[in-house]
């Protein structure tokens, strides 16, 4: 009989902390039997996952297992690829976002996304970047409300203190980590119910990564967060629930195991999960 020791790099003491009572304001997001294709190549096979408000859900797994595709299906970015197809339902508070009559722009506004590479709009200043979502969706907001929103979103993105004296400077002049927090603030400005993050720290240095993780922890009770990460320590640090994706040779990706992060890392039920979180492959 073998017992698998948890890797020493994961801070177990932090995982054991009891969850404080919170009153989350995010939305319930449920993926039901999601399958996805690129052309004739099936990349996801009937994946279901429930992402409750007030939690950070981490999607982990080796490269090419369909995590990012799954994430992009959650806010209808998947269909911007011409050959992409999908099956199944994504329910936002019980309502299928792919149902006929659901407006794609409205869905994307409610389910925001932060990308792997920081992508502030280069033709806009820092302040304009934050409220770009309002301008882009044609929302009319008074000047004073806009200024309050800029400060609020930058505060929540953890960037206010660093940029409050240079809000009219171009967003591209910030460092990589600051740009990524600016992108988070930009996503928050349209007050989404869900925030999807596609490896938001993979292009950043450790200090910036820590700042982003602090931001995620702070935002958790405001929006439902789904994060794709290659970094298992990060998944253990920021998430409350975890889903392990795997695409075994030549087969589409599936969720091998999902559940509370602590269980995935300490008591994985599946041998493949255990091997992955202990760094035996992937």
């Amino acid at each position: 009989m073998t017992t698998i020791a948890p890797p020493p790099t994961i801070d177990l003491a932090r995982l054991e902390e009891p969850e404080p009572e919170r009153d989350p304001t995010g939305a319930q997001l449920d993926a039901v039997n999601i399958s996805a294709w690129f052309g004739t190549n099936k990349v996801l096979d009937r994946v279901s996952l429930s992402m409750p408000p007030g939690t950070v859900s981490a999607l982990i797994g080796p490269s090419g297992c369909g995590k990012s595709t799954f994430l992009r299906i959650l806010n209808r970015m998947h269909e911007s690829v011409p050959s992409a197809k999908l099956a199944g339902e994504v329910q936002l508070n019980g309502q299928d976002i792919y149902a006929p009559g659901q407006r794609i722009t409205e869905t994307r506004k409610r389910i925001g996304m932060v990308f792997q590479k920081p992508n502030p709009f280069p033709a806009m200043s820092i302040a304009e970047n934050v409220v770009a979502g309002l301008k882009l969706t044609g929302a009319k907001v008074s000047r004073s409300a806009k200024e309050a929103l800029i400060e609020d979103c930058l505060q929540r993105g953890g960037l206010w203190a660093e940029v409050k004296d240079r809000l009219d400077r171009p967003g591209g002049a910030l460092s990589g980590g600051q740009q990524q927090r600016l992108c988070i603030a930009r996503s928050l400005a349209v007050s989404p119910d869900v925030l999807l993050m596609d490896e938001p720290c993979s292009a950043l240095d450790p200090t910036s990564t820590r700042r982003i993780e602090e931001t995620i922890a702070m935002l958790r009770d405001q929006v439902t967060i789904v994060i794709v990460t290659h970094n298992m320590q990060q998944a253990a640090r920021v998430s409350q629930q975890c889903a392990f994706f795997l695409a075994e040779q030549g087969t589409p990706g599936v969720i091998v195991e999902s559940g509370p992060t602590r269980d995935i890392f300490e008591r994985p039920r599946d041998q493949r999960t255990s091997d992955y979180v202990n760094g035996r492959f992937g």
Partner: protein, 371 residues
Amino acid sequence: MTLLSPPPMPGTSGTGVNPSHPDGADDQPRTVGRLTQDDIASLVAAFVGSLALTWLVYFQLLPLSGKVGFLFCWYAAFLAVYGLVSSFGNPRPVVVDRLWGAAVAGAAGVVFFAVLSVAIYTLVKGEGAWIHGNFWTHDMAGVGPTETLTHGGITHAVAGSLIELAIATAVSLPLGIGTAIYMVEIGGRFSTVVRTVVEAMTALPDILAGLFIYTVLQLGLGFQRNGFCAAMALSIMMLPIIARSADVSLRVVAGGLREASLALGASRWATVWRVVLPTARSGLATAVILGLARAVGETAPVLITSGASTFFNTNPLKNPMNSLPLFIFSSVRSGEPTYITRGFGAASVLLVLVVVLFIAARLLSREKTKR
């Protein structure tokens, strides 16, 4: 021997300052890649030697004459002598390197000299016209063929050029950028066809644009010869150039920005209008200026569609409207010396206008790289 003084050795106190010491003076950057005496000497030797040799052979021994022939022979002799001199004590790669360097520098010099001489020749020949104030403030109405250069001017041509360009830009700017948006943002199989057509149109002979407007608007729809028709012909010339360069500058806008915009809930139109176009702004400005620079010098289309006039006309819909290239064409063709001088004067103005446009394009694209 060298211009650099040797650095003071440690321990010697010649200057009292040790450059390697923390409290000493700042250290000086070394000059690297300096030409050696051999480099300079062989260049000068080949230059002078080939000049003397060519002069001797060309003018004294052979019954030849002519400056162009002499320069050509001198250059050939220079390359030969330079190669020969270099081969003494230098390995083959150095000889090849020097010869290629001389050949390339010579080619660049020829182009530079050609451009400069065209510009200077035009400015000098036109000086008799543009030196007079009336050249800038009068038109040619009522100026007889034998009147001196103190009478008449080109305001009608300048005004006509500006009005025609303004109309042509107003037509081709939205169409050109719209075409580029179609090719980049909508794409699909048909956009490849559009791109091919646009590329083919950039090579369209300008006279065809004039003939097309002449047959369609004037013969077909009964328009008179006027500035509007000329502007339409010019916009046919500008459209592919604007579409082509706008296409390139839209394509380099990072796809991540479009995704970011869509993920915020923006429509595709809002994404193009508020994210893609502002990001490509300087590239688009350059596209328009390149189109303008092309149209400003077109002669054949305006000759067919508008025709020259001598009087000041700001109404593009009525009566012929002159423009700078057309004025140059008709003046130089007239054979009257004062007219030819006026033609060169107008050419000088046109030349300066084109230079100004290209400098503006350069400045705009430089602003882009600075960001």
